[in-house]
Every structure is written in structure tokens, then in C-alpha cells.
Amino acid sequence: MYFGLSQDQTMLQDSVQRYLESASELEHVRGFAEGDNSLAENLHNGLMELGVPLVLVPEEFGGLGLGVLEAALIQQAMGRFVSPSGFTSAYAMAVIGLREAGDDDQKNDWLGRIAGGSAIIGVGLTEATGAREGAGLTVSGDKVSGRASFVMGAELATHFMLTSSKELLIIARDSAGVSETALTTIDKTRHVVMLDLQDTPCTVLAGDGVAAQARMIDMGRVLLAADSLGAADMMIEKSVAYSKDREQFNRPIGSFQAVKHMCADMVAKLEPCRSLVWYAAYAQDHVSDEAALMSRLAKSHLAEVGKYVARTSTEVHGGMGFTDLLGLHYWFKRIGANRQLLGGPETVREEAAKLQGWS
């Protein structure tokens, strides 16, 4: 029994972190948030050079053939540096969708394009976790119509993978009949759009779309939890550093128990989350009968602890935490968005109860 990361996994995460530490530093993130899309492109290209995004693409299609745990470690590093990236959708959820529901030709075609960099696929599955505002897609032959809301990974997407509830389908972003509305969210480090489609040409994946999208959501939730874990880690580190530096009453505020205990509480709640995220990610590939439950427990618990860390860390920073100048709010908002995306904690917990026959 070995419960922990392997040397390779640690090295993978370290290399992504080292890269993002400079490539995704706050001033670049700020530029992205203010409308300059170049950071998303730079990070995409830089990570591709590291070979990182293809973690879940099988080796036969030019990928690394690794698992969801590796993907979660990469996502955690992105959360840590609030990096604009469509990794969750393009290289994790879409890849799993293709692996699960694509036939051989579709896998060859699309996984090859993903590996070659010519297809970056945003993902919209919100309708599978609860339809609002009349959203929902209808497929007729090889055309699709309707509305897909909260489509993730829109920064650089060339294509979108969407659901008609029964089937998974892919459209090109520049196809006929695609009308795109950018949604402005609190989280300016990632782009979310709403798509209105009218007889848009689409590729319907051949396999069981319902089962495939369930797997995609399970995994997407694990990655959102990992993203919040990384973001919360950074918020605690920033809190500790700030509290040692900032002086009031002629002493560092970190020497006051009131402040120390806030930091200790954040650590006490967050540290067990690390093991929960590891296990939930590992279960996606290796413990199939627990994969769905653990994904929901990790997603909902990281939503709660993430929120706690986000507000507590902001408080430790005092007035500065509240300013734009310090930029701490990018982490606060990233965690806030992760909490709601693909289902808020109560929704996800109710699903977990159903899975266990409790509801």
C-alpha cells in the first residue's frame, strides 16, 4: 500500500508549477483579465512544449497515456497560479468524452487533431447537471439546434463538445448557425460562453453519450476540486507571508493568536482535502465503483473548504485583501466560480445521496 504521489507524479507537478510560476505571474493574469488573450495562447503553447496537456490522450494517438490523477495535479498547479487555460475542458473532459463515446475513426480523427494542436475543444455539459433559461440541444440528422449555456474553455477553443442529453456531439466554433454570447463572470481568469445554434453541422459521437458525459462530469468535478485546492494552497501561503510582513502595534500581525488561529484553521480544513482529491482522481481510473461518489464528495467538500479559505485569507490580508492592487481577489473569484460550475455543493451532495440509496 502506498498512499501518495510517485516520484514521476511529483516531478510532473513540479515542472508545471515551475513553468507557471513565471509564465502565469499575476501581472500576466491581470492583463488577460483586462482583455488581452495572449496569455492563454502563450500558456497553451508553453505547456504543449512541455508535453503536459496530452496527459490523458492514449499513447497510440500521440499522447502520454497517463491518468486522471496526473491531470488533477496539473490542474492544481493551474489553480495555484490562477492560470487562464482550457485544460479542464480541452485536454481532460473532451478527451474522456472521445475515449468513452468515440468510435475508432472518431478517436483517430479527433484525438489525433487534439494531439496535433489543430483542435482545442471547449465543453458544455451544463444541461446534464440542470437546464436553465430554456437551454438544451436537439440533433436532427447531422445538424444541431438549441442553446448550450456555460460552455467552458472558450479562451482558445476551435470546437465545442456539447450534449443533447442523449448524445455527445462536436461542432466547429466557426460553423454556420453558431451565435456566441460571452458571459461575464466574477472569474476573469477563464472564459465561459453561451451558444445558440441553428442547424449547425455537428459530429455525433457514436457511443453511449449518457455514460460518457457522466464520466466527463465526474472527472471535470475532480479537476475543479483540484483547481480550488491549488488556489487555496496559494491563498494560505500568501496569508502566512503577509502576516509575517505586515506590522501593527509594533509587531507582525502573524504573532497575534487571532491571526495565527485563522491560518491554522485554514490549514486544518484544507490539508485533508489534498488526500481526498488524490483519491477521487485515482478512483476515476482504478476504483470504478467509487469513482462517481468520490468525485462528488471531493467537488462538494472543496467547494466548502475553498470558500472558507478564500474569505479567511482575504480577512488575514485586512484592507489590502479587499483591494484590486494586491490581486488576491483573482484567487477568491476562481474558487467562487469552481464552487458553482458543474453543480454547487448542495446539488452535488444530493447526487451523492442518491448514489448511496439515501434519496
Binding site: F3, S255, A268, A353
Partner: protein
């Protein structure tokens, strides 16, 4: 990550199971009840003989002499829990005194005390806390003054569990009143039968006396009964604190509580509907389930770290704080879902689960306070774990 055990460990697990199948009938029902009973002592003898108690302690002092292996320890714990069989005696003598003597005792002390303690014949209590020395333990005032070949002890201890059953006490006393507080303490061993000792049960909010107060009036103890040198008692006491203690906040205990609550919620009905049909209770249950699993996996991470002889850092430091808190909140949910039936207690008609959830809820609060209070834990996490600055000494008025 690898959740499987290698063949060596699976073989070991099979051995443990075979042992339990064969000897289960000799096991007492509860772990620390009836410490003096022949059944308990016999069980302890069987466990010692097979290496399921005092597994890694030296043979010459009555241990089993096995190499430390945290995976095997975990397998033993898992299999005993699965068989619902209590493990070895886990008193303060075995957990705290024995490691201390092994590290700092004289050869004579080791020979005299360790084997008898391991066998369960000799029961110890711990004389640390005082009415005026809780979190600030080093300010303790129980005085030991040298008179001839004896220390003469006067003072009072509190929170002394098993003092009413113990043969012996390991006790912190002030021998050098003029030295700085940490350097004036000595660590003494003496019999609870020594004239001048009075034990009074300390009734707590649970309605039971889980602890005692111990009063010393001119208690004479030979000066040879010291561990370490005079004035080194603080260091001697702290030597054992570095031996990691996983006793509090056991994640498997939390999981079994969670499962019991889920059963209550499925089986208890209000107006014909099960408690589980209440979406608010259900949501609280699943929220706690996530925390229970997080702590369980954190525990597995600690086991791995320990088997690799690595420090788990913050993941280990938060266990007491977070584990006790989680158990407390589980008990809270059990009481809440039972509504009015949740307040039934003692021998009331309609009592559920022997009233143990109320007892848990209260006793767990005691655990949150005791053994290094939650606030002290937070100081340790922030100062030692995060490197935050220590509280400056208060200026003299």
C-alpha cells in the same frame, strides 16, 4: 498510489485473521474495561505472545521485538476492527511511560517496570495537569522537597484518569523552585499506595467520573525514583510527546460513527417518513461523509509517510484538532436527527443507542479541550507548521 498490499503483507493479513479466528473466544468485549479482570490479563498475554501488543518493543523487557512497520500495524488495527475484537491494553503506562523509560530510564527502572506494565499487571496514571497548570503545564506547582533520601511531595493533580485503579503514578513535580519554570521540574515514579495520597473522583458533565483529582500530603518518595536528573523533568516528559500518538481522532472510528448515523436515519421514522427523507439532514450527512473520507485518506497518507520514515508535516499536525472536531460534529448530527428522542439519557424509556450520542457529544468536547486544547493545537500548527512568529512575552506591569 497503490492501494494494494504486496504478497508479504497479504500473507501477514492472513496470519492475523487466522490468529483472530483461533483466539477470538478469549477476547474481552471492550478494550479498557475491567483492567484487572483475569480475562483481560489473559488476552493481553496472548497478544504479547503473538506480537499483537508491544509489537516493536525489545524482547528483553517483555515486548515482541519486531521491526517497526507501520503497514503491519495498520493491518493489525484493520483486522482487529473488522473482527470487532479489542487490541492490547492502551493505558498511559504503555503509551507514555514505557517509551519514556526505554529512552531515558535507568537499566534498573526498565527491568522493574516495563514488562509488568506491558503485561497489564501494573497500571499507571499520569500526574501532569494541576488546577493552576493546564495549557501552561510548565507552571505546575506540586512541590517535592528533598529530606534525607526522600522527596517529600505536597500539592494536587487533576484530570488524572485511572488514578482510582492505578498501582503507580508518573508524576511531574517542582524540585527547583528558584530555577526558570521549565528547568525546575522533575519526573518521579511512585506507588499510589504511598501514605499521604488521596484520590477523589471528578464527576464531569457526562454524569460519570472519567477523571480524578489526586492530593499529595507529605508523600515520601525515595530520591532514586526519579527518571533523568533533577530539573530535567520537562525534557523527560516531552521526549514521549515526540512519539506520534494516533489515539485521538481515529479516522476509522469516524467512519463507523457515520455509518451508524446513516442507519439511524434510515431506520427511524417521523410521521411515517424516514429521517433520511429530510433533505436538510441528508445534506448534513453527506457533507460530513466527505470530511470523514478526507480524514480517512489523510490517515492513509500518514501511514505511508510513516512507513517511508518521512515526516508528514502539516498532514500529521492537524489530526488531533480536526479529528476530534469531526467526531464531535458527527455526534451533534446524530442528536439533531433524533429530535426530542435525542435528549433521552441514562435509563429513560425509549432511549436510543444507550444514550451514547449525548455522551459522545459531551465527552468529545472534553477531548477537544484535553490533550493539548484546540487553541494550543492551532498555536502549534501556525508556529511550528507555518513558521509564524511566537507570541511576544507579555511586558511586566
Amino acid at each position: 498510489m497503490d492501494l494494494n498490499f504486496t504478497a508479504e503483507y497479504e500473507d501477514f493479513r492472513a496470519d492475523v485473521r487466522a490468529f483472530l479466528d483461533k483466539h477470538k473466544a478469549d477476547a474481552p468485549v471492550m478494550a479498557n474495561v475491567g483492567l484487572r479482570s483475569e480475562k483481560r490479563l489473559k488476552w493481553q498475554r496472548i497478544l504479547l505472545e503473538h506480537g499483537y501488543a508491544a509489537r516493536t518493543l525489545p524482547k528483553q523487557y517483555g515486548g515482541f521485538g519486531a521491526e517497526p512497520d507501520s503497514l503491519k500495524q495498520r493491518i493489525i488495527a484493520e483486522e482487529f476492527a473488522r473482527a470487532k475484537v479489542p487490541g492490547g491494553i492502551a493505558g498511559q503506562g504503555i503509551n507514555m511511560l514505557v517509551p519514556t523509560l526505554l529512552e531515558l530510564g535507568t537499566e534498573e527502572q526498565k527491568e522493574k517496570y516495563i514488562a509488568k506494565t506491558l503485561s497489564g499487571e501494573m497500571i499507571w496514571c499520569q500526574g501532569y495537569s494541576e488546577p493552576g497548570a493546564g495549557s501552561d503545564l510548565a507552571s505546575l506547582r506540586t512541590a517535592a522537597v528533598v529530606d534525607g533520601d526522600d522527596f517529600v511531595i505536597n500539592g494536587q493533580k487533576i484530570w488524572t484518569s485511572t488514578a482510582n485503579q492505578a498501582d503507580m503514578i508518573f508524576c511531574l513535580v517542582r524540585t527547583e523552585p528558584d530555577a526558570p519554570k521549565h528547568q525546575g521540574i522533575s519526573y518521579l515514579l511512585f506507588s499510589m499506595d504511598t501514605p499521604g495520597i488521596e484520590v477523589r473522583p471528578l464527576m464531569t458533565m457526562t454524569g460519570r467520573a472519567e477523571f480524578n483529582e489526586v492530593f499529595f500530603t507529605d508523600v515520601r518518595v525515595p530520591t532514586s525514583q526519579i527518571v533523568g536528573q533533577r530539573g530535567e523533568g520537562w525534557m523527560v516528559a516531552n521526549a514521549t510527546l515526540t512519539h506520534e500518538r494516533g489515539m485521538l481522532g481515529d479516522p476509522d472510528a469516524a467512519l463507523s460513527r457515520l455509518n451508524s448515523i446513516a442507519e439511524i436515519m434510515q431506520n427511524e421514522h417521523v410521521d411515517g417518513k424516514s429521517l433520511m427523507d429530510n433533505p436538510v439532514y441528508r445534506d448534513r450527512l453527506v457533507a460530513l461523509e466527505a470530511e470523514v473520507y478526507a480524514m480517512k485518506f489523510n490517515g492513509m497518507r500518514l501511514t505511508t509517510a510513516s512507513s517511508e520514515k518521512k515526516s508528514a508535516g502539516l498532514a500529521g499536525m492537524i489530526v488531533k484538532l480536526q479529528g476530534c472536531e469531526l467526531n464531535h460534529r458527527l455526534a451533534e448530527l446524530a442528536i439533531d436527527v433524533m429530535g426530542e428522542y435525542g435528549i433521552l439519557f441514562e435509563d429513560s424509556p425509549f432511549l436510543r443507542d444507550h444514550g451514547l450520542w449525548q455522551t459522545h457529544y459531551m465527552f468529545d468536547l472534553g477531548l477537544i479541550i484535553g490533550g493539548g486544547s484546540a487553541q494550543i493545537q492551532k498555536n502549534i500548527i501556525s508556529e511550528r507548521g507555518l513558521g509564524m512568529p511566537r507570541e511576544p512575552k507579555a511586558a511586566k506591569a
